[in-house]
């Protein structure tokens, strides 16, 4: 019997392949995700172990309020005097201090060299000192020495055609400064740094350009023989100020890896989610394909029953067939994942996330999880078709066109479907709105609820299909002639088949709609906010609108003819009421460029902040029961606590404001925070927005390659570009599940054509042309695709509404144009899916088709 099942599979290769494709793609997504994130993790781990390879202990700055660069807190630097005292310790053999900061390289066209939002790293080296702490390797030239020399990473040198001897610009806190390239470097053991760039200086130069004269960012220590790392740490600790910490090299490497890994884990889960959605859709496709195959093999299964096969044997033969398909598809998917990992990485680079790489990492976990998930999903999808197969009665062996008997529960079908849907919606509502649930439980109940919604609606679909398909098929029937009319009839004649084919597509379209509706809401509220608040003529931001810009660029605009106000908003972090918060600082004239609604204080408040004044937004004041005059004690990363008094409360529009939780005066901020930078600056001119003014402002910023002058519309556009980018990324990732559902349409049509061989032969015999036959199949594909859209888009909108309500989403906007595009895309997708089946149908030989038994 096992042999029968396996040989049967071989005898139906096309069907087996069609069934397998959906699993192959889903598994590839999962294995690709693991391979990609493992490779990136390995790259970071390589960097950190390289960096701390010969370091027994390392001293770094420690933010007084917790957090680190990964959550936007810059730790303070160390005093350089510490180095001499460390060197004086009995256990220390060598100690070297260094600077690490960010400095952007500027190309020959005065454009910042930036790849994929990756960091622009800057380090100091000490060519005359001990090289054991230096993780970099020279690939050409020499190490930089002196105030005008730099070494850069070889990738940038190659891609931007810089050679040793060329001059290159570096942008730090002021205008661009030029250096002569004396060497190219790379991180030892790393294939690619991703999009990151490296700018390497000697120590005094680094201290000067990063405004850290007399300071160090880290001190690497090697111990004397017989002194353990732990003993070394114990010796160093007493010397340290409150804003410094010492760790063993190993601890530091682990900590650094942990910080990046937590980000990569989020990325991993994010991508895996799409893999699982793809597999879920794949399960629908498999279940449907197997179901149709079973229906077509009824006589064969019935014959087996007359020859003495039990129901159990029939059941297991179907499951075994699925198992074999699952294993083969998962193995193929696993290896396809290796390629997909490259594709995903390319995708991320295209979307501005360029991460470092080492050689591909193919972990055992990847193999186990990918195979297991692929096989289990296939087996689960096979259960229903296998049960259907057991219902084939032996008498079907002698009856022409026997129908599968209805299940005992079939007449309860619609009620069960309704119950499942209601249960699903209930589960989601609990997840979204019930109080006192942990986030994990909440996500679980929303996730399971969403899956159940899809299953419930898919179960309801057969009841809806005849009516809906009749309506959706109207254009086909009216315009498509006989082919269209037949197509409409065909799509209705096996409603559950059409329904499950369409349901697979529905899932993808639901998610795409959900995402687009949420994004549209976010954008409208943001636009609304900017339109309410933005009373300036121009905004000054960085190239990507997200990085901070130097205060020097803001100052370059002061005093230009026609410029009335230039007012910047600084950004940093602080700790108030035991919690880390975002801190902004404003210049006195901010109210003339940003018009917020004040509930206490007023437009004069920013000008009256002085050294100790602060204002907060309404929700923050309410949460902490603050009113004008309330004291606020705010600790800053360098350690001190600022004693502030509340001077005003403002009520931001739903789309937010440029201000953080607590806002102080820029004057005080610049005194307290090292390297103050602007998040934005706003400009008001006497003549408003004119070409001449724009040109004048742009000219004044020529020495600041990263600074960008923008009108209100440009500002909105730039700020929304992040949302748009994320939206596109989500569309691309979701398209995988849509592609899988298209294979579902292909499968159904191919199998249907096969099933109707005789009927198509008859149609051809009575005068239907090949063209008409092909059109008939195309119309059927379009009707199925439209059915998927009809189900998916409304569900997506409803889900968006529910999610929006739950997270107190600022606005709900239906992006009609986008949704119309989705419908058109669905029609086109249907046409694509019809290509292969239509060709097969058109090529059927009339005579052979009629003789087919």
């Amino acid at each position: 019997m096992i042999g029968v099942a396996l040989k049967g599979l071989l005898g139906r290769k096309l069907r087996a392949v069609l069934t397998a494709v959906s699993i192959v793609l889903g598994v590839a997504m999962i294995s690709g995700t693991f391979v990609l994130t493992d490779t990136i993790k390995a790259a970071f781990n390589t960097v950190f172990t390289q960096v701390y390879k010969n370091t027994d202990a390392v001293i770094t700055g420690k933010s007084a309020i917790g957090g680190n660069a990964n959550n936007g807190v810059t730790p303070p630097s160390l005093p350089e005097s510490l180095l001499a005292r460390v060197r004086g310790l009995p256990g220390v053999s060598v100690a070297e201090g260094g600077i690490s900061d960010e400095g952007q390289l500027v190309d020959r066209n005065d454009k910042v060299i930036s790849r994929g939002g990756a960091p622009s790293l800057a380090f100091s080296v000490n060519p005359k000192g001990d090289q054991r702490f230096n993780p970099l390797v020279l690939t050409g030239g020499t190490w930089p020495t002196g105030a005008h020399e730099i070494a850069i990473d070889s990738k940038t040198a190659n891609s931007k055609h810089f050679a040793v001897g060329d001059r290159i610009g570096v942008l730090t806190n002021g205008p661009v400064e030029r250096f002569r390239i004396v060497g190219t470097v790379k991180f030892g053991g790393l294939n690619s740094l991703g999009g990151a760039t490296l700018a390497i200086f000697d120590l005094p130069t680094a201290q000067r350009i990063f405004d850290k004269v007399g300071k160090l960012d880290s001190i690497g220590i090697a111990s004397k023989p017989n002194v353990s790392a732990a003993q070394l740490v114990a010796q160093v600790s007493p010397l340290l100020p409150a804003t410094a910490q010492v760790r063993t090299g190993e601890q530091e490497a682990k900590q650094a890896a942990k910080d990046t890994n937590s980000f990569l884990t989020i990325l991993e889960y994010f991508l895996l989610a799409f893999g699982f959605v793809a597999l879920f859709v794949g399960a629908f496709v498999i279940a449907n394909t197997l179901g149709i195959t079973i229906a077509q093999r009824m006589r064969e299964l019935a014959t087996l029953r007359t020859l003495g096969a039990t129901r159990r044997q029939v059941y297991w033969s179907v499951v075994l067939e699925a198992f074999v398909i699952g294993v083969l598809a998962s193995v193929i998917g696993l290896f396809l994942g290796l390629g997909l990992a490259k594709g995903l990485n390319a995708l991320f680079v295209a979307f501005g996330i360029d991460l470092p790489q080492v050689g591909t990492v193919f972990a055992t976990r990847t193999i186990v999880v990918a195979l297991l998930v692929g096989i289990v999903v296939t087996l689960i999808a096979a259960i229903r078709p296998a049960l259907r197969a057991t219902r084939v009665e032996p008498i079907a062996a002698v009856r022409e066109g026997a129908l599968l008997p209805r299940s005992r529960f079939a007449r309860f079908g619609p009620y069960i479907a309704l119950a499942v849907t209601a249960f699903a919606v209930g589960l989601m509502l609990i997840g979204l709105f019930a109080g006192g649930l942990s986030t994990k439980l909440r996500l679980l109940s929303i996730g399971v609820g969403a899956l159940a919604v899809f299953i419930g609606v898919a179960m309801l679909a057969p009841t809806l299909v005849p009516r809906v398909a009749r309506l959706l098929g109207l254009p086909a029937a009216r315009l498509g002639g006989a082919a269209g009319m037949l197509a409409r009839g065909n799509s209705i004649r096996n409603p559950s088949r059409t329904a499950s084919t369409a349901s697979a597509l529905m899932i993808g379209l639901t998610l795409v709609t959900l995402v687009s509706v949420l994004a549209a809401g976010l954008k409208t509220t943001f636009e609304d906010s900017v339109n309410k608040l933005f009373t300036a003529d121009y905004a000054l931001t960085s190239e990507n609108g997200f990085n901070p810009t130097s205060t020097a660029s803001e100052k370059a605009l002061h005093g230009l003819p026609g410029v009335e106000v230039v007012s910047g908003v600084r950004a940093g972090s602080g700790k108030v009421f035991g919690k880390r918060i975002s801190v902004t600082a404003v210049e006195p004239d901010i109210a003339s460029v940003i018009d917020v609604k004040w509930t206490a204080g007023g437009p004069q408040t920013p000008a009256e902040l002085g050294a100790t004044g602060a204002f907060v937004q309404k929700s923050y004041a309410e949460d902490h029961h603050l009113h004008v005059g309330s004291p606020i004690a705010m600790q800053i990363p360098t350690g001190p606590t600022l004693r502030l008094t509340l001077r005003g409360v403002f009520d931001p529009p739903k789309g937010g404001s440029p201000f953080g939780d607590v806002t102080i005066s820029a004057a005080r901020f610049d005194r307290e925070y090292p390297n103050p930078q602007n998040l934005f600056a706003f400009v008001k001119t006497s003549s408003g927005v004119t070409d001449a003014t724009t040109a004048e402002l742009t000219r004044a910023l020529a020495r600041f390659p990263d600074a960008k002058i923008q009108t209100r519309a440009q500002f909105i556009h730039l700020q929304e570009s992040g949302i748009n980018l994320l939206l596109k990324l989500l569309y691309v990732l979701l398209s995988l599940s849509i592609i899988i559902s298209l294979f579902g349409i292909v499968n159904t049509l191919v199998l249907t054509v096969f099933e109707r061989t005789r009927e198509i032969g008859m149609l051809r015999a009575v005068g239907m042309t090949r063209r008409q036959v092909r059109n008939m199949i195309r119309h059927e594909a379009i009707i199925t695709a439209l059915l998927g859209a009809t189900l998916g888009i409304p569900i997506g909108i409803v889900l968006a509404l529910m999610v929006g309500k739950a997270i107190d989403y600022p606005a709900f906007t239906i992006p009609w144009t986008t949704l119309v595009v989705f419908v058109i895309a669905a029609i086109l997708a249907g046409l694509v899916a019809a290509i292969f089946p239509a060709r097969r149908a058109g090529r059927l030989n009339v005579l052979a088709a009629l003789q087919y038994e």
């Binding site: 019997m1 029968v4 040989k7 005898g11 014959t303 087996l304 029953r305 039990t310």
Partner: protein, 254 residues
């Protein structure tokens, strides 16, 4: 109403293997109900070849389906090898099929992906048993398939396919072999060969066969011929020539 064996049944050599008692079968309900069988009783003795004849719609196929346990009667009882089958649950019925029943179909019903030999031993494979070497060789020889054993059905002629099917039905030495229009899909020369093969298996192996057919020539090889019309057995002959059979048939349809 003429029922039951008119005239003495052929003396049962080793007793009765199939027995039907007052079998009726009604399809549908109410005004549109159709009575396919209206009370049929019969016995098939071991080693006999019984042909069931009748015009289309006479109920002959329904009778065979019920005798073979493929369909359930609306009333009446059927026993195979002494076991009452009309109320048997599926699992027991399956076991009964393995041990006692062989099938030959009009459209052969071979599995296209299996070779001739694999098709022949399929009932044993399903039951988890091994074919007996000599018996298999004997069947391959007597069906003339020895040099075709590794061919797939698509590489065989219609007659060869039906011979594979007959060998498949014989492999487990069933108590009773049901043949449903075994020549219905074959030309007349091939039909002759198939009928000879069936007759051969009765003579040589003592196989009991019930064959449904509407061809006089096929019925002519039978030891007994039952004539059905309108759901009733209307005549019975202990062997008859094709001409005799035709005569009875034309008397039935007039």
């Amino acid at each position: 109403m003429a029922v039951v064996e008119e005239g003495a049944p052929a003396p049962a050599q080793q007793g009765t293997v199939v027995r039907a008692q007052d079998v009726t079968r009604r399809y549908g309900e109410g005004a549109t109900a159709v009575d396919a069988l209206r009370g049929v009783s019969l016995e098939v003795a071991s080693g006999q070849l019984v042909a069931v004849m009748g015009p289309s719609g006479s109920g002959k196929s329904t009778l065979m389906h019920i005798l073979a346990g493929l369909d359930k009667p609306s009333s009446g009882s059927v026993t195979i090898a002494g076991e009452e089958i009309t109320a048997l649950p599926d699992a027991k019925l399956t076991r009964l099929r393995r041990r006692h029943i062989g099938f030959v179909f009009q459209f052969f019903n071979l599995l296209p992906m299996l070779t001739a030999q694999e098709n022949i031993v399929l009932p044993l494979s399903i039951a988890g048993e091994k074919p007996e070497g000599r018996w298999l060789t004997e069947l391959l020889d007597s069906t003339g398939l020895a040099d075709r054993a590794t061919h797939r059905p698509s590489e065989l002629s219609g007659g060869q396919q039906q011979r594979v099917a007959i060998a498949r039905a014989l492999i487990s030495r069933p108590t009773i072999l049901f043949a449903d229009e075994p020549t219905g899909n074959l030309d007349s020369k091939t039909s002759g060969e198939i009928l000879e093969l069936l007759r051969h298996s009765v003579e040589e192996y003592g196989q009991t066969i019930v064959m449904v057919t509407h061809e006089a020539r096929a019925a002519a090889i039978a030891d007994r011929i039952l004539f059905l019309a309108d759901g009733l057995i209307v005549q019975e002959r202990q062997g008859a020539s094709a001409a005799d059979v035709l005569e009875v048939m034309s008397s039935l349809s007039s």
